[in-house]
Point group: C2
Chain length 706, copies 2
C-alpha cells in the first residue's frame, strides 16, 4: 500500500535521537527496546556524545549515518528539538516523531516554537508527528517506538491523542481478548492530522477496526474530516471517544445556535455523519470495539433476550432499551417453543428466563436463541447467565460439554444467521478460558450488562450507517465550506437587515414594513390587514421580546399607534427609532434554524424548538454542512425533535425537502459572505405547508471583513 | 436491638424444610451449608422421609421438633409450600422464608395461592419473606441460609429483590475490598416490605451502609416508604438501584402528567426525597457504596483534580462535570505552590497534571492535593496516575516508600481535612495489595474514571441531603395521602368543571363566562373587555387546541361571534355546545402543574414547562406528596426547570411559596375526593407575581366513586 505514512509505520530505516551510553530514559530506553523487536529495517542511535549502547554505535549526528532514514524519533530536550528536527528534514528524512513535551500545550511561546518547527520541516518535505506524543508501533514492520511492551497482538488499530489513555486501552484489552496491530499517539497534532492516520489504518488490511481517542481536530479540518472518515467507515468499523467536554464555551456564547451546539454536540454530529461509532463512556470503549470486531451489524432494532436469572433479565432489558433498541414481546408460537425446554414457571415473554436450566444442558443458550433469531421478527440477541460460574467451577453437563466446549454453539448460530449475539455473565470481569472460547467463537462476552447494551447499540448504529451509505461516492449539494476563525464577539444585525439576508438566500420571510412614527405604523397596518405584529428594530439585541420590543395581536389602528408610542417611550435611545409591522400569521409551530461558523467543522447547523422556549426545551438536531438529503433526514429522525418535525398536534409534518433547501441556501450565503459569523432564524414558522421566517438575527464579525 | 426481624436475621432456632437423606439440592444443601457456619442457635432439619444428614436427625414435621423455631426456611415444592408454611405458623413460628418460586411471578393462580398463604400465616402471627427469594445471612448470628458461600465479610448490608444481582454484587465486591455483614433477598415481597428490612439494617450498628436492588415497592407503601427511609438515611448512607424501566406505561397513559412521570422518574423522586442515593448504572453501584462507606460527604460542589497524565485529566474532568460538580480553576497562589514541585511544562490549572513526577516521590499526590483542599475554595478531590503500574512493579521512590506504604498519606489528608478524596488508576480493575492499602486508608481506589465521577456525585448528593435534613422530625404540611388503584381509563371533565375544582382548592382561576350562543359570547366579551379568548367546552378531550377548540386574541364583538359560529360548526355534536369566554392575559410563562394518584407512591406532583410544547420540551420536576417547603425548593432547584422557574427573560421568578401552597391545596383536594385520578393544570401562567390557572383537566374514575 502506498501512503506517505508508510515512512512512519513501516519505515525501512529509523534513527532514534537523544541516545547516550549511560542514560536509562528517553531516547536510550526507546532505542534499546526497539532493538529487541524483530524490526526488519535498520535502526540507528544518534546522540551528541557518541559511544555505544547494547553493542550498537551511537552516531553523533544524522549526517554521520550510513543512510538517510525514513523516520527519526526525537526525545531530546524541548530547546534542542526544533534544530534537531530541521537538521533531519534537511538531510531528507520523511517523518519526524516528536516525543518531547513543552510546546503548544504549555505556553504561547511553545506554540510559536512548534509552529516554526513544523513550517520549516514541511518546507523541507518532512512531516511531524506530535509533539508531546508517545510514539508508534506496527506489527507488520515490527517497529515499536513506544515505552509500552507486552501489548497483546491483534487487529485493532489505535489512534490516541493521549499516551495514558492508550496505556489504559492496552491494559484493559486483555479483559476482552483484544489485541492491537498498530498504534500512534499524536499529542499536539501540530502537523499530520488525525484523518491521515485514520486513512492509513483504513487502507491497512491487517487492521479490522480502528479505535480513536480524540480531544480535538485541527482547525478548519472538520468538514473535510467528515467526508474522508466516511470513506474509511464505509468498509471498516471506526470507534471514537471524544475527551474534553467543557461547559465554558456554551455559557459564554452569544447566540441560541452557539449555546445549543456545544463542542461535544458538534463532534457527535460529525462522528455520526461520518459513520464513526461514538462512545461517551470510556468504560464501554473496548466493549464496543469487541462487538464491531466480532459481530455482524444489527440490521434492525428488535432484540431477543434469552438468559437465566430474573434480576439480570430486568437490568438487561433496561440496558438494551436505554440504547434506543426494542425488546418486543415473543408471540405464542415462540413461547410454545421455549416452553418445551423450560419448567412452567420460567418467564417466556421477551426476555426468556431459563431459571438455571442451562446447567444441565450447556447448549440451551443456543437452542433457545435460535427460535427468535430464525424468524424475521428479531434482529439480534442478548444472552446471559451464570456461565463460567466461579461457585461451580468445571461444570460439565449431561452431554459431556464444558463451558469451554459449549461456547462455540452460540458463535455458530451467529455465523449461520448473520445476526449478532452478545453474552453477559458477572464472572467475565475476570479473564478465563471459557470467556476466551466464547469470544473466539465470535460472541463478545461481557462482565457488565451496560457494556452489552452499549455493544448492541453500536452494532445498530453501524447497521444504520451501512444501510444509509451505499458505498458509492455521495453527491453533496455544495462544496465544502472554507472557514475562518470566528471573532470572540460579533455585531447582531437588526431584524430588518437580517431578514433581507435570509430572503436573498431563498428563505420566505414574513411581509414586513418599516415605520418610523405611530402614523406610519398604523397606515402600514392598514395596508397589511389586521391583526398585526409590531417589533422594535434594535441593533445588537438578540431577544427583543425580553425587553418589551414585541407586541402581538394589534387589531386596530389605534392599538398600533399606542403600541408604537409606548415602545418608543420605553426603548428608544434616539430619534431614529423604527418598528416593523407585519401580519400576524396563524402559526402551526415555531422552529429554530441556526447556522454557525465553527472553527473546526466549518458550518454547523442547528434545528430545534423555536420561540421563547428555545433554550428551556433545548431540543435540537445538529449537523455539519454540507449534508445530502438522506443524511439530513437521518439526523432529524434520531434527534429529540423527530416528533416535533413530524405530524404534530393535528398539524402537517414539516416539509423536510424544503427545510433542507433552506439550510443549504443559508450555508451557501455564509460561504459567500465570510463576514457572517452566525445566522439564527427564530422563529422559522410552519403555516400549513409553508416555512416562513418571522424573525432572524445575523451576527457579523466586528472586524467587518466581507 | 428489638425488632420483629431479629427472628429472621438473628433467630435462636431455625428449621429448614425439605431436607432428605439423599438429595443434593434445595433444603438439604442449604441445611448442610448452614450447619458448617458457627451459628450460635439451634438449626433443625425437617423432611417427610426422616432419616439423618451429616449426623443430624431429620424431623418428620415441625411438630416433632424439640422446640418451636423462630424461623423456618422453605424450599419444598410450590404446591406443598402453603400448607407447610401454615403448619409452621400454627406451631408458633415467627418468620417463614419461602425460597420456592412459581407464585405471583408466574401466573394469576400463583398470585392467589401466594395471597392466601400470606393471609393465613399473618392471621396466625407469622410473617413471610419472599416467595421466590434467595434467603438470608447475618454475620453477627452467623446464620447463612443462602447457597452463597465465601462472601467477603464487611459492613455492607444488602437488600436485593433478585438473587443473581446479589450474586453479582458479592462477586464484584472484592474489586472494591468491600464485604457484607447481612443480606436478605425478598423476591415477590408478598408480605414483609422492603422498608422493614431497611429499618432493620438501619438499626443494626454492624451495618455501615445499606445497598438495595429494587424492582418494585408494595402498592400504596410509597409515601410511607419515603418518610421511614428518610429516618434511616439521616444516620446511615443508603444506596439503591431501580431495575425495570419500561416505556410501555408512558406510551399508554392519557394525561400529560402521566406521560411525563414514568415509573423510573417517580422512584427517582422518592429516593431523592428520602435521602437515598440512587445509582442508575449497575456498574457504578459498588463504587458509590465504597465512597459512602469510606469518605466524608461532599459539603460543596467544587472539586480539585490533582493527577498525572493528560488524557486522564481530560476524561476525569468530563466525568466529574457530568455528575453536576464543578472543577473551578486554581488561582495564582495555588499555581505557584504546585509549581514548586513540578517541571515548568506541567499544567497547574485545575486539573494539575504532575506528568509522572510522582514516581520519584510517592507522596506527591498528598502534597499537591493538600494545597487546594486546605483552602475554603475546594470541597473534595480526585487524584489519579499510573499508581500500581504493572509495567513498573515494586516501584520504590527516593524516600524508600512503596506504593503500598505511600497509600496512607492520602487517607490521612482526607481524615485531617474532613473532605473526601477518591483515586483512579487504570490498574485498579485488578485486585492488588497497593489498592487495598489505599482503601484501608479510607481512599476509594477505582479502575474507572466514570466510577470515580459517580462516587463524587454520590458524596455530594449525600452532603446535600444531610444539610437539608437536620435530623429533627420534619413537620409535613398534611397527612400522608391514602390511595386507591387508579382505574385503567378515566373521564376527562370539561374545562369549566375542572376550573371549579381548582378554584375550590384555592387556585386562582381565570375569570370566565359560559356562553351557549354567538350573542351570549359577544356580550360576555363586552363585559370582560377585549381581547378575549374563546374555548370550546368539550368532555373527554385533553388537548382542545389540537382540534381547533381555542381562539386567541379576539378583539371585537363581531370577531367573537364569528369565532363561536365557526367553532360550533366544526366541533359541535349536539345543541348543547358551549364556549367559555375569558380575558386574554399578558402571560409571562406557561407552567404545567399535575397531580396524579400513583398506586405505589400515593400522590405524585409534576411541575414543568406548560402550553403546547409540554411534551416536546419534557422538562419537569417530579415530587412525591407531601413535601415540606425546603424539599419542594430543593426538588425544583435540581430539576431541568430550575432556570425556567427563576428570573427568566426579564420576568420575575415564580413565587415558589405560593406554588407550594397551590400544590398542597390540590393534593388535599385529591385526598378528600378519592374519585379524582389526576389533575392537570395546563397552563398555570405567571402574570407578574400572580399564578393563574387558565385551563385544567381533572380526570375522574369512570366508576364514579366519590
Amino acid at each position: 500500500m502506498s501512503h506517505y505514512l508508510n515512512a512512519l509505520f513501516k519505515p525501512t530505516s529509523v534513527a532514534v535521537l537523544g541516545v547516550s551510553e549511560n542514560a536509562e530514559r528517553g531516547g536510550t530506553s526507546i532505542f534499546r527496546a526497539a532493538l529487541k523487536e524483530p524490526f526488519g529495517g535498520r535502526i540507528y542511535a544518534v546522540g551528541r556524545s557518541g559511544g555505544e549502547v547494547d553493542g550498537q554505535q551511537i552516531y553523533r549526528s544524522i549526517a554521520d549515518l550510513p543512510e538517510i532514514p525514513d523516520l527519526v524519533f526525537g526525545a531530546v530536550g524541548v530547546r534542542a528539538t526544533p534544530s534537531a528536527m530541521v537538521e533531519a528534514a534537511e538531510a531528507g528524512v520523511k517523518v519526524g516523531v516528536v516525543f518531547t513535551a513543552g510546546f503548544a500545550e504549555m505556553s504561547p511561546e511553545g506554540a510559536r516554537a512548534q509552529q516554526a518547527m513544523v513550517e520549516q520541516c514541511n518546507h523541507l518535505g518532512m512531516r511531524i508527528v506530535g509533539p508531546n506524543c508517545m510514539g508508534v508501533f506496527d506489527r507488520t514492520s515490527h517497529l515499536n517506538l513506544t515505552s509500552m511492551k507486552g501489548v497483546q497482538d491483534g487487529s485493532v488499530g489505535l489512534i490516541s491523542q493521549s499516551g495514558n489513555i492508550a496505556l489504559t486501552m492496552f491494559t484493559h484489552a486483555r479483559r476482552h481478548d483484544l489485541g492491537f496491530h498498530s498504534f500512534v499517539s499524536f499529542g499536539n497534532q501540530a502537523d499530520v492530522p488525525l484523518i491521515d492516520y485514520l486513512e492509513y489504518m483504513g487502507q491497512d488490511d491487517a487492521v479490522d477496526v480502528v479505535l480513536m481517542y480524540v480531544e480535538s481536530l485541527q482547525e478548519v479540518a472538520g468538514a473535510d474530516f467528515v467526508r474522508r472518515a466516511r470513506d474509511v467507515a464505509a468498509h471498516k468499523p471506526v470507534v471514537a471517544i471524544k475527551g474534553g467536554v467543557t461547559n465554558a464555551g456554551r455559557r459564554a456564547a452569544a447566540s441560541h445556535t452557539s449555546r445549543l451546539s456545544a463542542a461535544e454536540t458538534i463532534y457527535s454530529a460529525a462522528f455520526r455523519q461520518a459513520g464513526i461509532v461514538e462512545v461517551t463512556d470510556l468504560d464501554h470503549l473496548l466493549a464496543v470495539t469487541e462487538a464491531l470486531l466480532r459481530c455482524p451489524p444489527l440490521k434492525g432494532s428488535r432484540i431477543a433476550i434469552v438468559g437465566s436469572g430474573g434480576g439480570h433479565s430486568t437490568i438487561g432489558t433496561d440496558c438494551v432499551e436505554r440504547t434506543g433498541l426494542d425488546v418486543p414481546a415473543f408471540d405464542s408460537h415462540l413461547r410454545t417453543q421455549f416452553g418445551q425446554h423450560l419448567p412452567p414457571w420460567a418467564p417466556v415473554t421477551n426476555p426468556v428466563d431459563m431459571t438455571g436450566g442451562f446447567t444441565e444442558d450447556l447448549t440451551l443458550f443456543r437452542t433457545l436463541m435460535c427460535y427468535p433469531l430464525s424468524t424475521d421478527s428479531y434482529d439480534g440477541g442478548l444472552s446471559y447467565g451464570l456461565y463460567g460460574n466461579s461457585f461451580k467451577p468445571g461444570l460439565v453437563d449431561d452431554a459431556g460439554l464444558t463451558w469451554e466446549s459449549a461456547a462455540a454453539t452460540l458463535g455458530a448460530l451467529q455465523a449461520e444467521l448473520g445476526k449478532p449475539i452478545v453474552f453477559y455473565t458477572p464472572f467475565a470481569k475476570d479473564t478465563a478460558a471459557e470467556f476466551t472460547a466464547m469470544r473466539r467463537a465470535g460472541v463478545p462476552c461481557y462482565g457488565s450488562l451496560a457494556e452489552a447494551g452499549a455493544a448492541l447499540g453500536a452494532l445498530r448504529e453501524r447497521g444504520e450507517f451501512l444501510a444509509r451509505h451505499d458505498g458509492a461516492s455521495r453527491s453533496v449539494l455544495m462544496p465544502a465550506s472554507t472557514t475562518s476563525d470566528a471573532a470572540p464577539g460579533g455585531l447582531v444585525l437588526t431584524e430588518f437587515e437580517s431578514l433581507q439576508i435570509l430572503a436573498t438566500a431563498g428563505v420566505e420571510t414574513v411581509a414586513q414594513q418599516q415605520a418610523g412614527s405611530p402614523e406610519a405604523a398604523a397606515s402600514a397596518a392598514d395596508a397589511i390587514g389586521y391583526p398585526v405584529v409590531l417589533k422594535a428594530q434594535l441593533k445588537d439585541v438578540a431577544h427583543k421580546s425580553d425587553v418589551g420590543g414585541v407586541r402581538l395581536g394589534l387589531s386596530t389602528p389605534a392599538d398600533v399607534r399606542a403600541a408604537f408610542v409606548d415602545m418608543r417611550h420605553r426603548l428608544a435611545v434616539d430619534e431614529t427609532f423604527v418598528c416593523s409591522v407585519s401580519p400576524q400569521l396563524d402559526v402551526d409551530r415555531e422552529i429554530l434554524l441556526g447556522i454557525r461558523r465553527d472553527e473546526t467543522f466549518g458550518h454547523t447547523v442547528v434545528i430545534g424548538v423555536g420561540g421563547i422556549l428555545t433554550e428551556v426545551a433545548a431540543r435540537v438536531a445538529v449537523l455539519i454542512a454540507p449534508t445530502c438529503f438522506d443524511e439530513f433526514c437521518a439526523a432529524i429522525a434520531r434527534s429529540p425533535i423527530a416528533d416535533f418535525m413530524g405530524e404534530w398536534r393535528g398539524k402537517p409534518a414539516v416539509d423536510l425537502q424544503e427545510l433542507h433547501r433552506l439550510v443549504n441556501g443559508l450555508v451557501e450565503a455564509c460561504i459567500r459572505d465570510t463576514g457572517i459569523q452566525s445566522i439564527d432564524v427564530n422563529p422559522l414558522v410552519t403555516v400549513g405547508a409553508r416555512l416562513v421566517a418571522l424573525d432572524g438575527a445575523v451576527v457579523r464579525d466586528l472586524s467587518g471583513s466581507e
